[in-house]
């Protein structure tokens, strides 16, 4: 299937989710004066950043027709690895960052390698590496949080540049890079091709295995960025951090119009999906909705958004 056709299709279907997001924001702006303030919007941006990074990663994976359930565990492993090297007056800042990113790269590459070589479905492989990763995080940290991290490291999660929280800057840069990879590179076009019709992609000479290696590795690196960001934000490397993150990330991608059957999806859609989840959870707190109801409301709004998105596609 030619990738251009996919692109046109998704662009068309995207209106629904934008509309849903817009409506939600307008409703919230009227229901609580606290919502539409600069400080609250910056907080939403910060709170969304980690999930958005993971969602970008898994968007690549889902576009190729795969899935990655090990995101949350990768967040824990990479966070613990980075924290191990981030104590004050030990190593320069580059060491914990490169160690964390390196761990994510290796983990992601391992996912990709097993998936391409073993032909076991990605769901099963990453279900396995999800538990392996959780175990590794516990082994590396001996089951205890790693605290006492340097100020320069913590700046990544809590610092500001010209009043803009650093996590938001990372989010924006990551978004641009991911969008460029997906839309402007050969690799990006191959991803759509592999997800759209794998045998056809193979027949047309695309090295499907290589493309898959790339997406899982990129996903690992983005998870590591999420892991480092989380660790710096809560100023501890926690082996049990990130549990369940994969579901939020996958939800953001799917809300944003990425099809689980592969071949379609955009980074902008995923970003909106992540923002939608972030805005909902922020506003439910602002409106002081009881914890029990929060979960119900969250589910209803997510389904509602996707339904609205579906209407957009039919037009």
């Amino acid at each position: 299937m030619p990738p251009t056709q996919n692109l046109r299709l998704t662009k068309f279907g995207q209106y629904g989710i934008y509309l849903a997001f817009l409506i939600l924001c307008i409703v919230l702006a009227f229901s609580t004066p606290r919502f539409f303030t600069v400080s609250n919007l910056l907080i939403i941006g910060t709170q969304v950043s980690i999930n958005a990074l993971l969602a970008f990663g898994v968007t690549f994976v889902i576009i190729t027709g795969g899935i990655d359930l090990s995101l949350g565990s990768m967040v824990a492993v990479t966070g613990v690895v980075a924290a191990t090297f981030a104590h004050p007056d030990t190593y320069p800042l580059a060491v914990p960052l490169l160690a964390g990113l390196g761990a994510g790269l290796l983990f992601g590459a391992f996912n990709g390698l097993v998936i391409t070589k073993s032909k076991v479905p990605p769901f099963i492989v990453t279900l396995g590496t999800m538990t392996i990763g959780r175990g590794l995080a516990l082994i590396l940290s001996k089951g205890r949080p790693i605290s006492n991290l340097s100020d320069s490291f913590n700046f990544i999660g809590g610092g500001n540049i010209f009043g803009i929280p650093f996590p938001i800057i990372i989010l924006i840069v990551a978004f641009i890079v991911c969008a460029v990879i997906l839309n402007k590179t050969v690799l990006g076009r191959y991803m759509y091709a592999v997800g759209g019709n794998e045998p056809a992609a193979r027949a047309s000479g695309i090295r499907v295995g290589n493309v898959k290696m790339w997406v899982y590795t990129i996903c690992g690196i983005l998870s590591a960025m999420g892991g480092i960001l989380l660790t710096a934000r809560i100023t501890t490397g926690q082996p049990n951090a990130g549990a369940g993150f994969e579901l939020d990330a996958i939800a953001a991608a799917i809300i944003g119009g990425t099809s689980t059957s592969g071949g379609t999806g955009t980074m902008t859609g995923t970003l909106i999906g992540a923002l939608l989840i972030g805005v909902i959870s922020n506003s439910l707190d602002l409106l002081n909705v009881t914890s029990y109801y929060q979960q119900v409301v969250m589910g209803v709004i997510i389904i509602g958004a996707v339904v609205l998105d579906g209407f957009g596609k039919k037009d």
Partner: protein, 310 residues
């Protein structure tokens, strides 16, 4: 072929690295064997209890087999069943759930093996209970807040995972003190699911809602309390808001020392661990023992934090 060899090597390396308990099986017949099933070895507090049990068992020359229930009551019941099948002399259980872990107690009692609950309770009555009363921890924390605020002010409460025994009990204790102090107003309460990042996000959102109206935050555990402190610091509100949480984890003690966290409530993991083993051994030897060993909580503030820092 290469893959198979490589895989076997890795597997062997992994297995030899993690068998903390396997050498225990071949001991001489006279040594007492105690089986312990713990709620979750991913929880720092539980790991501390378990470490102390290990140390005490060594001191008393007892074989201790520790297994992790990974928060699953079903798994826990199965683990107790296998302890019974192995014919251990006593069982220590750190229950996952009040109701769902109860069958394990009944099974052990039916098999005439003493079972000691440590840290939290089950609805079925065990041979003995060693732990602390969670309600009390919240009472101490809220009393401290009330005192600090002179009985008047706006309070936010951050709950643990909704429906768990510790959350319910800490909630009961907190509400008791709220009732006794009509000047304290509960602005909002919400769950932070025991998690630091969630606690931080929740506090950020609360700051957007209530800003300078907030006088104090009570968090059901230190992880969330530390998250609240982070958010308040970032908003420049920390010196105006009192934060108290429960558990006295090392991070929280450091924060109390620095003055960022106002107080934490010390739950004595060491005492719980060592008393659990002592009680189990006494029960196994059919010596006299206390049916309920309650280890008191202690309020930790800047004044006395030195005693708790190792």
């Amino acid at each position: 072929m290469k893959n198979a060899i490589f895989g076997t090597l890795i597997a062997t390396a992994l297995l030899s690295g993690c068998n903390q308990t396997s050498e225990k099986g071949s001991g001489d017949g006279e040594k007492l064997v105690v089986g312990a099933t713990m709620l979750s070895m991913q929880n720092e507090f539980i790991v501390n209890v378990s470490d102390e049990m290990e140390a005490k068992a060594k001191e008393l020359d007892v074989d201790l087999i520790t297994v992790d229930a990974e928060r699953s009551a079903l798994k826990q019941v199965e683990q107790v069943e296998s302890f019974i099948a192995q014919g251990v002399d006593a069982i220590i259980m750190n229950p996952c759930e009040v109701e769902a872990s109860s069958p394990a107690v009944k099974l052990a009692m039916a098999a005439n093996i003493p079972i000691i609950n440590v840290n939290s309770e089950t609805s079925a009555k065990p041979t003995a209970f060693v732990g602390s009363d969670d309600t009390e921890s919240a009472r101490i924390a809220m009393k401290y807040l009330a005192e600090k605020l002179g009985g008047k002010g706006n309070i936010l409460i951050m709950h643990g995972f909704m429906g768990q025994a510790a959350q319910l009990k800490r909630d009961n204790g907190a509400k008791e003190i709220l009732k006794a102090n009509p000047g304290l107003k509960l602005l909002a309460e919400q769950t932070g699911e025991w998690d630091r990042a969630k606690g931080m996000s929740l506090t950020e959102n609360w700051i957007q809602s209530y800003g300078s109206k907030i006088n104090a935050i009570f968090a059901h555990n230190d992880e969330m309390g530390m998250g609240a402190v982070k958010a308040l610091e970032a908003a420049g509100l920390k010196n105006k808001v009192i934060v108290v949480s429960v558990d006295a984890i090392p991070d929280a003690l450091q924060a109390v020392k620095k003055g960022t966290l106002d107080a934490t409530i010390f739950q004595n993991a060491k005492e719980q661990g060592s008393k659990a083993i002592e009680t189990a051994v006494k029960a196994a030897k059919k010596e006299a023992f206390d049916k309920e060993v309650l280890i008191p909580f202690q309020l930790v503030t800047k004044e006395n934090v030195g005693e708790f820092l190792k």
